[in-house]
Symmetry: C2
DNA sequence: GAACAATAGGTGTATATACACTTGAGCTAT
DNA sequence: ATAGCTCAAGTGTATATACACCTATTGTTC
């Protein structure tokens, strides 16, 4: 009986490692990001940058704060993440009518990069969907979406 | 017909944003990490650090490279992530028998921090499991696990 | 046993992420 | 009109992540 507490801890630790939502999501993110980055490499865009350009493209002209909310990303993180894209000339950031805001928009060069990257994205995305199977993949997407809602509200 | 390509692109962009495995996994990771960090805060550990301490604890004494493989994490990332834990005295890193290796192990202080953090983890983890429902949560875990295998091999 | 390959690890650099704090512009109530 | 509040954004700092490159130790081959 004297080893009871230690044993209990070890059981719990195994449960943590095997079931922790944060750990397992981050692990999957790492693995998938590496795969996507590898395939997107010829486009010159990292996957995070690719998805940012896509988000800017869809939003049209939008402010930092609104874009950050769309992306479930801290506003200051977005500010930092936009910097490399601005430096490469893929997006431009100009003051908005409300002088407090700054408006982000895609440039012609950004549109070009996107055109080059999309077929690569389709390839790697298809490989993941095929690997899991369409049904399971759709289910995973929907589960992830609900997880975001759950975590983001409380 | 002259707007055809532009329209096609916009459709595709919506598909990318709504279905990209990398984007949606990272988004969920951000949301969940923020939630877990918030609840774990009284422990003094970030969730990433908590899971690292758990991994070291389970592995017993292990090398950097082996631990990195377990975590599906770049070896150099792990080296960097261990630094704050070593500085706080939660782990210790000593040379192994093979002089090329360095062996990572939990300290008494690390065990203490873990003991304080585990009940907090159980609370936030339970809220996620309850929110999604046990069945859906188990399914999501298994889908994530297969996604890691899929992405990590090719 | 010496030359070479393989292995374990660290550093330099760059990006991703977020919290605390600050600045400056717009809004509101009196 | 102005004092005070709110809102948008940036900076300082710290951690998380990974690639390219380097160093040192171990193993292998002749």
């Amino acid at each position: 009986m004297k080893e009871q507490t230690t044993q209990l801890d070890m059981v719990k630790l195994g449960i943590v490692a095997n079931t922790c939502a944060c750990f397992n999501l981050r692990k999957a993110s790492r693995a998938v990001t590496q795969l996507y980055d590898e395939i997107l490499q010829p486009s010159g865009l990292l996957t995070t940058q690719f998805t940012l350009v896509v988000a800017v493209s869809i939003a049209g002209s939008t402010t930092i704060t609104r874009l950050a909310e769309d992306l479930v990303m801290d506003r200051t993180t977005l500010t930092r993440n936009l910097k490399p894209l601005e430096r490469q000339g893929l997006i431009e950031i100009v003051p908005g009518q409300d002088q407090r805001t700054r408006v982000v928009a895609l440039t012609a060069k950004g549109r070009e990069a996107l055109t080059k990257a999309i077929p690569l994205w389709e390839k790697v995305q298809a490989s993941v969907v095929e690997g899991l199977g369409q049904n399971r993949w759709s289910r995973l997407l929907s589960d992830l979406s609900d997880t975001v809602l759950l975590a983001h509200k409380g």
